[in-house]
């Protein structure tokens, strides 16, 4: 019950503040632009293929447009997510309402879960709004359904990881900008650690690749579900949420 109450309150707050709207608009403009340019490029290649049959193999809208689009969208999410999560605890701390909230007959976990689910719902809405791209493609060609669904699932799981990390940093500080900067920095680190894999060797390369956030998205965008990739995102999300819970606890006894 408590979770639901917090969820409702947060959703109301999201739609009352301009932040969510701005994030939505920016996200949709940029990913729309990506889609449009990928589409134009694919159209160009298709035209060349129709003139030269040697080109014609392996030209597929799902692989040629949606797969790179999902990869691009994950990057935009990386930039936008800290903005959606920075407020969640930091603001309440600043205004002193966190103590109030935590003294309600609610458990910390319920508060945390409510906020987490609200942000997740927002990401789901954000991704839902991009559903117009595959719909347009379906109008003109034959994109594959399952790879689209797995691609969105991957993005949602990735988004949940972003949110949980953002929540953690939001709970550590009362300054929203600091929370966003820290979250963004940490996410970026998780993002680029995979680049180190190209320089490292042997087991180190494997470790770096495994830790890298985008590395695990590629199977989803390909249309392949792998338990190891799902568990990677869920494991990270779980850990960051747990750490947030601990940070709330510390807050309480530090008092």
């Amino acid at each position: 019950m408590g979770t639901l109450a917090v969820f409702k309150k947060e959703m109301r707050l999201y739609f009352a503040s301009p932040v969510a709207f701005v994030v939505f608009i920016i996200f949709l403009i940029i990913s729309g632009y990506f889609f449009y340019s990928l589409l134009l490029y694919f159209s160009l290649i298709s035209m060349q293929a129709s003139m030269n049959p040697a080109f014609a193999t392996g030209l597929n809208v799902t692989d040629g447009i949606l797969r790179p689009l999902f990869a691009n969208m994950s990057v935009i999410l990386l930039f936008m997510m800290p903005l959606l999560t920075m407020r969640l605890f930091a603001e309440e701390r600043k205004q002193g309402t966190l103590e109030l909230l935590l003294t309600y007959p609610l458990r910390d976990g319920e508060v945390l879960l409510g906020k987490f689910l609200a942000a997740t719902a927002l990401v789901a809405l954000l991704l839902f709004a991009t559903g117009i791209y595959p719909l347009l493609l379906a109008l003109w060609s034959e994109p594959e359904v399952y790879p689209i669904l797995t691609g969105y699932l991957g993005l949602l799981l990735l988004g949940m990881t972003f949110i949980s990390l953002g929540l953690l940093f939001s709970s550590l500080t009362e300054n929203q900008i600091v929370a966003a900067a820290l979250a963004f920095g940490a996410l970026l680190l998780f993002w680029i650690i995979g680049w180190a894999a190209t320089l490292a060797e042997g087991d180190w390369a494997l470790l770096f690749r495994h830790l890298s956030l985008p590395e695990h998205l590629s199977s989803f965008t390909r249309g392949v579900l792998e338990t190891k990739d799902m568990l990677y995102y869920l494991g990270l999300t779980g850990f960051f949420l747990f750490a947030t819970l601990k940070s709330l606890e510390v807050r309480r006894w530090k008092g």
Binding site: A16, Y36, A49, A205, R222, G223, V224, G238, F242
Partner: protein, 483 residues
């Protein structure tokens, strides 16, 4: 000292410190659980390919092979960091890794680690080296068919034996002279084939362990008993690679004719070869027919002093030409003129190009022949990667109208070497062993019309953000009214 411990104990007993320690412990514990779960997940990964035609999955042949791996196989993929195709190669190798705990791979940038590249003898980017059991196999470009084939070769227990016919003035395998075959020997040794001479004059029949018998341009005719032995060998499913020079070998010519391969008794003269800096008698082949041997083959090959080889439909054999010379060439039949060194196109007698220089025949194994392996049903066996039984199915002959193109002088010229090795590996059934249909995504091109492009622009770049702005404004207005 005592004071330090006392204060430490005090501090430890302090509520906040204890809580803090608890928190850190709990975090570590949770992290450890996550790491363990993830490690288990990697080992017991479940993979579901939801694409059409499961195109991101390995074929059953490859999976079977990987699951049967008993020794460690290490793959080193030499790709530049930003090499196109690296991601696809990684996808593929990931799957090999997924299906076998014995398979490992790593990517190496040959520019960054030239030492390693040199150790493996890497000359081109996108080379994958498979190592295992003390052997090595190199693959150009990571494709499933190539990789799995290389893996089969790597794991092959017994070496396949190539017999070279001797006793009729054939070119010498050991000779490093221009006319020698030492380059051929080296190339075959690199592919892990065993090479043995075959003196059919002494033997009664072709040895049972022959994967392919190669007849490298005999200069004197074969004896009837030898021809019989060869024919019996082909009839029981044996494989021949025949290279016959012009104006020689009536005996072999008759044998080949039985299977639909007609040698021309002429010399091909090619004006185009001049353009490549060669002699008129060095015809060049740039057009190949569709066949596993010439699949994806786009290099020119040169056939010095060659005669034509035609494919004529014959009962019991399916025949096909492999490659043709240009239309600027002709087949000169006037041996006297050729010997004098003066050739000219004679409308009456000579044959106008393009003319074929190589052909292949697949020969049905006749049921009354009691070959040692002719009764083994083969289709399912082939999947398991057991080469010995596959051979039983059909006999095969590849014939070229010259032996010079594999001699030291010409072997490494353009595509000659590849064509020769392709012919051999096709004959040795190493190609058919695991012919893996490349799984390609459905061809769904999309060429936008102007109005579609406009719709896409508005529908994706402008409309969704505008809709959100609209909702935002509506929300704001309603709020202002209600307050």
């Amino acid at each position: 000292m005592g004071g330090f411990f006392r204060s430490l104990r005090e501090r430890l007993s302090h509520r906040r410190t204890r809580y803090g320690l608890n928190t850190v412990m709990a975090l570590f514990l949770f992290l450890a659980i996550v790491v363990v779960v993830e490690a288990l997940a990697i080992r017991h990964n479940i993979r579901v390919d939801l694409t059409e035609g499961r195109r991101h999955s390995l074929s059953d042949q490859s999976i079977k092979l990987l699951k049967s791996l008993k020794e460690e196989v290490n793959a080193v993929a030499f790709y530049r960091t930003d090499e196109p195709g690296k991601a696809a190669a990684q996808d593929l190798l990931d799957q090999y890794d997924h299906f076998s705990a014995k398979f490992r791979y790593e990517f190496v940038d040959p520019d960054r680690r030239p030492g390693l590249a040199r150790r493996y003898g890497i000359t081109t980017y996108r080379t994958v080296v498979l190592e295992g059991g003390g052997k090595e196999q190199k693959v150009q470009g990571a494709e499933e068919e190539k990789l799995t084939n290389a893996l089969v070769k790597l794991l092959r227990q017994e070496r396949r034996i190539m017999y070279f016919l001797t006793g009729h003035g054939e070119a010498d395998l050991e000779s490093t002279e221009r006319e020698g075959l030492s380059q051929v020997k080296q190339a075959l040794t690199e592919l892990d084939y065993e090479i043995k001479p075959l003196l059919l004059l002494r033997e009664k029949e072709v040895p049972k362990d022959a994967a392919v018998v190669i007849i490298p341009g005999p200069q004197t005719d074969l004896l009837p008993s030898e021809l019989q032995a060869l024919e019996a060998y082909v009839k029981r499913g044996g494989k021949l690679l025949v290279l016959v020079d012009p104006f020689t070998q009536p005996g072999l010519t008759d044998l080949l004719k039985k299977y639909g391969l007609h040698l021309g008794q002429n010399v091909i003269v090619d004006r185009l070869s001049r353009a490549f800096g060669g002699d008129y008698l060095l015809p060049v082949v740039t057009q190949y027919e569709q066949h596993p041997i010439t699949k994806n083959f786009n290099l020119a090959s040169f056939f010095p002093l060659a005669q034509t080889v035609d494919a004529v439909e014959t009962p019991g054999a399916s025949v096909q030409v492999l490659g043709q010379t240009s239309s600027d060439s002709w087949a000169e039949t006037d041996k006297a003129a050729f010997d004098r060194g003066e050739v000219s196109f004679d409308q009456e007698k000579d044959r106008k190009g393009p003319v074929p220089v190589g052909a292949v025949a697949t020969i049905e194994v006749t049921s009354n022949v009691q070959g040692p392996t002719s009764k083994v049903p083969t289709e399912e066996k082939a999947v398991n990667g057991e080469p010995s039984t596959v051979n039983a199915k059909k006999g095969g002959i590849v014939a070229y109208g010259t032996s010079a193109f594999i001699k030291n002088t010409y072997l490494n010229l353009s595509g000659n070497r590849d064509l020769f090795l392709n012919s051999l590996s096709w004959l040795a059934e190493e190609e058919e062993l695991i012919a893996i249909r490349p799984r390609q995504a459905k061809f769904t091109p999309l060429v936008l019309t102007a109005s579609q492009a406009r719709l896409a622009l508005w529908g994706t770049v402008f409309f969704p953000p505008l809709a959100i702005i609209g909702i935002g404004v509506a929300v704001a207005v309603r709020r202002r009214r209600s307050s």
